[in-house]
């Protein structure tokens, strides 16, 4: 116990945190963010939206209940690195098959423990998101892993962090989207929905399937005509990483399909809808990442406790012609959490109604999507005509 391999977390502003090496031995660089959810580290690690980010879990014990194959949000962890006050060496849960360290080692995820994570969070809260580097001592001193780093080594990390490209201004969806279209195995037939995969979480597909939808997942760059060729009854725009303003092709696809299909967007999908109709997104200081964000549903007045993971938000005011109106607001800071199109059955939420991890308060949105699809089936031919012209 006493005396473990040393590791560093260095932020681009020069702040240095000294802790212990965990997970895959190595070095990593990314945008450092924090998540306040007390459970769900595995879902967070395997959520493609975290691509390019090093995640600091604010709950101090991570790994307690191990890792269960059923709880993967994608086929592998996408986080760039993990930070926790303490990772449990031993786990206990009847559903688990391996420890978090095994998962990290299997997939090359570098971690650091033993740092003052609360101090880090306060730093990010006041200064905004920063890039950072995790470096394990054995990378540069394989023969002396227990020793201290010297100042030059720390300084080198600061430079590495500074040199690393910002997420702002980058489209990361190509890194995480499926290479080929594929159908999700389900018994449901009939309500076919095309899911544009910007880094989709597995639970979203499951939730859609659960409400009777036949999900077809397509790569992010699939064209509107390719999508319509699949003869869908609905369109879903998924979550995903990166700066939402960059993937123009996605905005264009959403714009071209607007009104043709009942459409539901989550997180990045919500932002893309906003951008598609001419609105703007902005980068938040440190984003919303956690499982306790209160959202007010303006249609019912009820409060939903929601899971969130976003660093950008849609500026509703910037959308020309009041094409969308707000349906959900964040009670903590008043940011837009959900919107609906003024004319079409198109709606989206910034937060994660599929949760995983997080509360299930907003699952009704999936039912609502099905209702929109059902209602749309009987609609007039106008959209269908437009659809034909596209093909």
């Amino acid at each position: 116990m006493l005396g473990r391999e040393r590791a560093l977390l260095v932020l681009e502003d020069g702040t240095v945190y000294r802790g212990y090496a965990f997970g895959h031995r190595g070095e990593t660089v990314g945008e450092v963010v924090f998540n306040t959810s007390m459970t769900g580290y595995q879902e967070i690690m395997t959520d493609p939206s975290y691509y390019g980010q090093i995640v600091c879990m604010t709950y101090p014990h991570i790994g307690n209940y191990g890792v269960a194959i059923y709880d993967m949000e994608s086929n592998r962890p996408y986080v760039q690195g993990m930070i926790a006050r303490e990772f449990s060496e031993h786990y206990s849960n009847q559903r688990a098959q391996q420890s978090i360290e095994e998962l990290m080692r299997d997939h090359g995820i570098v971690g650091i423990s033993g740092i003052d994570t609360r101090a880090l969070v306060r730093r990010l809260r006041s200064g905004g998101v920063l890039k950072g580097v995790i470096l394990h001592r054995s990378v540069i001193h394989p023969d002396d892993p227990l020793g201290d780093f010297d100042p030059e080594e720390e300084q080198a990390c600061v430079l590495a962090a500074l040199r690393h490209p910002d997420i702002d201004g980058r489209d990361l969806t190509p890194e995480v989207t499926s290479p080929l279209p594929h159908a999700f195995p389900t018994l449901h037939r009939g309500k076919r929905v095309v899911l544009i995969d910007f880094g989709i979480k597995h639970t979203i597909i499951e939730r859609l399937a659960e409400v009777g939808i036949e999900p077809i997942v397509v790569p992010a760059q699939t064209s509107p005509s390719q999508i319509m060729a699949l003869q869908p009854h609905g369109l879903f725009l998924s979550n995903g990483p990166g700066d939402p303003a960059v993937p123009r092709y996605a905005h264009e696809t959403a714009w071209k399909l607007l009104g043709l299909l009942p459409t539901f967007g989550i997180c990045l999908g919500h932002q893309i809808l906003g951008l598609a109709v001419g609105g703007r997104t902005f980068k938040m200081k440190f984003g919303h990442r956690g499982a306790n964000q209160p959202v007010k549903n303006l249609l019912t007045g009820r409060i939903e406790i929601t899971a969130q993971n976003h660093g950008y938000a849609v500026d509703l005011e910037s959308i020309p012609g009041q094409q969308f109106r707000a349906t959900h607001l964040n009670l903590n800071d008043g940011t837009l959490e959900g919107m609906v199109h003024a004319r079409y059955p198109v709606f989206s939420v910034q937060y994660h109604p599929e949760a995983s991890p997080g509360p299930h308060d907003s699952r009704y949105l999936f039912d609502r999507f099905v209702e929109e699809i059902d209602a749309f089936d009987g609609a007039t031919g106008l959209p269908v005509a437009r659809a034909k012209s596209l093909i």
């Binding site: 007390m38 769900g40 101090p60 101090a119 969070v121 009820r302």
Partner: protein
């Protein structure tokens, strides 16, 4: 929806005397609610006979009734106050049951009183086991298979179906009273019968056993707009089978994955909606089969509870306060989160630390009671600790307990140690000891059912112990090693023990490496938002969050876990000190480890440190805060015993100096002082060995009061009448005492009347605040004796002598604050028994009886004010009588004779006020839970009860004297038994009021007679004191 404007006056029911299962947490909840509701402009009437609570302070409600929590008295209050609504969810099971009774008998409807917070049907659905099960099955939740039975025939059927072990839960009882787990058929029948008796509706639920399953509790809140939030999940380290009040618990849950936690959260939300608790908090318990994750709903409490108090302290979310505001119409999103100010209360707290709660027990006071734990709660208090890891939090909680439960475990052989893996107060220590002996996690898991994650954490602690021991001289440790060790929660004391050093040396070595704790903030949001509430805990991290103070600070030390002998009275005194010093312009800093209390509400002091009350932890806070004063005299023995060490370490102690405390506590010095002042003491001596005790006893003569030199609540105190009795004390009691302390022998004054005096002194002048005459004779611990203020049987001359002696003593000791003196009067002669220069447990009672806030005055004196500054010139002279009666927990300790003695065993107290002393006694007795009858039969067993029999007959009772021929037959309405017969236990279990001393019998009979001759009215405290 803002607050309802159609309500003007609200009635709130408290929970009565502190008892096992219903303690200070309801003072905390009630006080929060009162403050919040009055701020909204509601008029509040409160009924609670417990004087030791903050909530019953005259300035917290508009009218405060220190009246019994019985339907009759509540009806009188309702008739007088005519409230618009009754809020029944803040006073524990007592208030909830009472509200249900008043609803059923039509009182509420008759007076047009609306139940707010929870409707009668929701309460019934949540509490009635059969309805609850049905409701759960209706929403697809599983419960343990079980059957509600009303008699033994039905119970036989249930036994055949579910087999053993079986769980037996009586309906509508408090803390599981009368229930248990039956492993054998004999146990089954014993518990079923006991359960049927203790259930007010004579039914018990017999259930399949889920022993050893993982146990979780969710604290849920709902508002009228149907928004539901979960405040926290609490995981029990002790698995199913041990009452959650007796379990070590942690928050948040540690071993549930998100999938499992969310499933439980979904269930909890569905349950609160189905049961129909419209607003406020509920506690829902779940059991999870560790082998396959199968989850069962165990029970729900549709009210604030001990767990909700814990959850509030653990997260910073004030459940009771918010519950009260929701009950009058607010929605969660309309209420701000006090801590962040900018975010609403409609959210779920997330925390970035681990909270551990450990209960504190008092089995040593109940010889004869087996210390095995089960479904009936028997702990008397609890501690909570916060750390940045489970290990740190757990070790802080262990040392907060202030009881060396480790003692002697190392000497046990493996078989004896193995026995202690069954649920008992020392189990976690036995687990640690087992790990030290190399017992594996698998073995311990099998024996205890404790989840392996916790066992691995403990194993890592034990591994660290070995490493520390092996690491040799701590002088060679680097700062990094120090941090690692301290971050695991090892105290300097523990490191000293492991390395063969002493704590002072360890402290200075550690500090020389620059390793000292920083203080983090409890903020409900894991630092996502800025926190404005200085609620702190220590950790060995890097960043300190304590804001620099703007005003001079005073540190007030709390009293730690409640225990018999040191209860909520001391919390009361420390809270008053906080308020008084705050009024004087100081920034107040509270240090305490008890989650149940008002003192650990972040709203009480300007700054709250949730820390163990050990020398190291307190000194760390002193060093961080640099206070101008430290107050140790108001929190009982716990802070008082830190006076010497803190003073030596340079902490600026306020109030009575440590030397005066020593002088009063050191027997020889005190004896000399009494001699100088001409105060008569009973003859006495100190013996260093058992042999010497026998010799000295022979010289002093019998009977003698014998006790160890340190004493709290009469621990191991006995009256011995002969050498053979002393011999048996030495061999059976003394032998088991830790450290073989010196023994104090005092002549015991037979049939003497005891007197308790509380006095205020500023060093120049002293004033008597109250003189209490004990009702039970000397020999019964003063904490267990009823008393009356002012005295009724003392001559004016004697009273004058008492006052003069007390004043002399206070001035001679140099008291600056409070002094409590105990006297005995035998044949007109006054003897001084002891003096305590600190707040005593009678402070809240006297404060309420005479209308002087004694603890506030004491704090102001400690801050340098004089009695003149306080405008106090002559002792108060109340025109009414106040009686204090006690609540005894005998019912919870099977096999213990319900007898009073020199060892204190009461857990709480009640107060009655009336112009007639007898009627004040009547109210106090009822308030303490003694249902004194107005008709029916009284059995009188014992000699010299002729007058008692006469009074009872005059009151209209049928009296039967002598032991009844058919002792197993129907029970009477009142049992007076001076012979300690086995009848007492039976009557106790049958809910019959019992009286065991001649003096109490006389008072009881006179009280019943007086009550029978008048039409009882109720008067609020504010009116008595005006």
């Amino acid at each position: 929806m803002p607050a309802r404007s159609d309500l003007h006056k609200l009635l709130i029911l408290g929970s009565g005397p502190i008892q096992i299962g219903q303690a200070a947490e309801f003072d905390y909840s009630g006080t929060q609610a009162l403050k919040a509701l009055r701020r909204l402009g509601y008029r509040i009437a409160l009924i609670n006979p417990n004087p030791a609570t903050i909530m019953t302070d005259p300035d917290l409600a508009d009218s405060t009734y220190l009246e019994p929590l019985t339907a009759d008295f509540v009806r009188l209050v309702i008739a007088k106050e005519r409230p618009d609504a009754l809020l029944p969810t803040l006073g524990g099971q007592t208030a909830l049951n009472l509200a249900m009774e008043l609803d059923r008998d039509g009182t509420l409807a008759h007076f047009g009183v609306e139940l707010v917070g929870a409707k009668a049907d929701a309460i019934d659905k949540g509490e009635d086991r059969a309805r609850f099960q049905e409701a759960m099955h209706g929403i697809g939740q599983k419960t343990p298979r079980g059957e509600l039975v009303h008699g033994t025939d039905q119970a036989r059927g249930a036994l055949e179906r579910f087999g053993l072990p079986a769980v037996i839960r009586p309906s509508f009882t408090l803390g599981g009273t009368g229930g248990g787990i039956a492993h054998t058929e004999a146990e089954f029948w014993r518990i079923v019968e006991q359960g049927l008796q203790s259930s007010p509706v004579h039914s018990v639920l017999i259930e399949e056993s889920v022993l050893g399953w993982k146990e979780f509790e969710l604290e849920v809140m709902r508002d009228l707009a149907d928004t539901v939030v979960v405040i926290t999940a609490i995981e029990n380290v002790d698995p199913m089978g041990v009452h959650t009040g007796d379990s070590i618990t942690v928050a948040p849950s540690q071993t549930l994955s998100d999938v499992e936690y969310q499933r439980m959260r979904d269930a909890a939300i569905a349950i609160i909606r189905e049961i129909g608790v419209e607003t406020g908090g509920s506690n829902i318990q779940f059991a999870v089969d560790p082998s396959d994750g199968r989850t069962l709903v165990i029970e729900m409490n549709p009210r604030v509870s001990r767990s909700s108090a814990l959850a509030s302290k653990a997260t910073g979310f004030p459940i009771a306060k918010i519950a009260a505001l929701l009950a009058v119409g607010f929605r969660l999103d309309e209420l701000p989160n006090d801590i962040t100010r900018v975010t609403p209360a409609a959210f779920e707290p997330t925390i970035d630390y681990v909270v551990t709660k450990i209960p504190r027990f008092a089995f040593e006071k109940f010889p004869g009671a087996e210390p095995w734990l089960g479904t009936q709660m028997r702990s008397v208090g609890e501690v909570m600790a916060i750390g940045r890891s489970f290990k740190e939090s757990f070790q802080k909680a262990l040392r907060s307990l202030e009881s060396d439960v480790r003692l002697g475990l190392a000497e046990l052989n493996d078989r004896e140690l193995g026995e202690l893996l069954r649920p008992n107060p020392r189990r976690i220590q036995a687990v640690l000891e087992g790990l030290r002996r190399g017992w594996g996690v698998d073995l311990l898991r099998g024996a205890t059912g404790i989840d392996p994650w916790f066992l691995w954490q403990l194993a890592e602690l034990v591994g660290a112990e070995a490493e520390i021991r092996a690491s040799g001289d701590p002088a060679a440790w680097s700062a990094a090693i120090w941090r690692e060790v301290k971050a695991m929660g090892f105290s300097d004391q523990a490191i000293a023990e492991l390395t063969g050093s002493d704590p002072t040396a360890i402290r200075s070595l550690r500090k020389s490496q620059g390793v000292r704790p920083v203080y983090k903030t409890v903020d409900t949001c894991a630092a996502e938002f800025e926190a404005y509430t200085p609620y702190h805990y220590s950790s060995y991290d890097l960043e300190d969050e304590v804001a620099e103070a703007e005003r001079p600070r005073v540190l007030i030390l709390g009293s730690g876990p409640n225990r018999i002998g040191q209860g909520v009275e001391f919390d009361y005194a420390t809270v008053h000190a906080v308020w008084a010093l705050s009024e004087l312009g100081y920034e107040t800093v509270m240090v305490n480890s008890n989650p149940e209390t008002v003192s650990t509400d972040y709203d009480t002091a300007d700054r709250l440190y949730f820390e163990p009350l050990t020398f190291e932890d307190v000194l760390n806070v002193v060093e961080r805060e640099q206070p101008v004063g430290v107050l140790v005299q108001l929190g009982g023995q716990t802070p008082l015993k830190l006076a010497g060490p803190l003073s030596q370490a340079g902490a600026p102690l306020w109030g009575t100096p440590a030397t005066a405390i020593d002088r009063a506590e050191d027997r020889a010095a005190f004896h000399a002082l009494c001699g100088e002042l001409g105060l008569r003491q009973p003859a006495g001596a100190v013996a260093k060995t058992p042999e010497e005790a026998l010799t000295l006893a022979g010289q002093l003569g019998y009977p003698l009061m014998v006790r160890p030199s340190y004493v709290l609540g009469g621990r191991a105190m006995q009256v011995v009448g002969s050498p053979s009795q002393l011999q048996s004390y030495l061999t059976s009691v003394y032998k088991n005492l830790a450290g073989q302390p010196s023994l104090l022998l005092d002549r015991f004054l037979e049939n003497a009347t005891e007197i308790d005096v509380d006095c205020l002194c500023d060093g120049r002048r002293a004033l008597i605040a109250g003189v209490m005459e004990h009702i039970e004779a000397a020999g019964v611990h003063s904490g267990d004796s009823a008393c009356v203020l002012p005295p009724v049987s003392l001559s004016a001359a004697l009273l004058a002598e008492i006052e003069a002696s007390t004043v002399r003593l206070a001035l001679a000791l140099g008291v600056k604050g409070l002094l409590n003196v105990q006297y005995a009067v035998q044949s007109g002669q006054l003897y001084i028994l002891e003096a305590n220069p600190r707040a005593s447990r009678t402070v809240p009672f006297v404060s309420k009886a005479v209308g002087w806030p004694l603890a506030k005055y004491a704090a102001r004196i400690a801050a340098g004010q004089s009695l003149d500054d306080l405008g106090l010139h002559s002792p108060p002279a109340p025109k009414h009588y106040s009686v204090k009666e006690v609540h005894l927990p005998f019912l919870k300790f099977a096999g213990v004779a319900p007898q009073l003695g020199p060892e204190m065993r009461s857990t709480g107290e009640s107060m009655g006020i009336d112009a007639l002393a007898e009627l004040a006694y009547y109210r106090a007795a009822l308030g303490a839970g003694q249902r004194l009858p107005r008709s029916g039969t009284a059995w009188l067993v014992g000699a010299g009860l002729e007058e008692v029999a006469g009074d009872l007959r005059k009151a209209g009772l049928e009296v039967s004297e002598g032991e009844p021929a058919d002792a197993a037959g129907a029970l009477p309405e009142l049992l007076i038994d001076l012979t300690a017969s086995s009848l007492l236990r039976r009557a106790l279990e049958g809910g019959v009021p019992i009286v065991t001393t001649k003096e109490a019998a006389r008072w009881t009979a006179r009280a019943i007679l007086a009550a029978s001759r008048c039409d009882l009215q109720v008067t609020p405290l504010q009116e008595w004191l005006s």
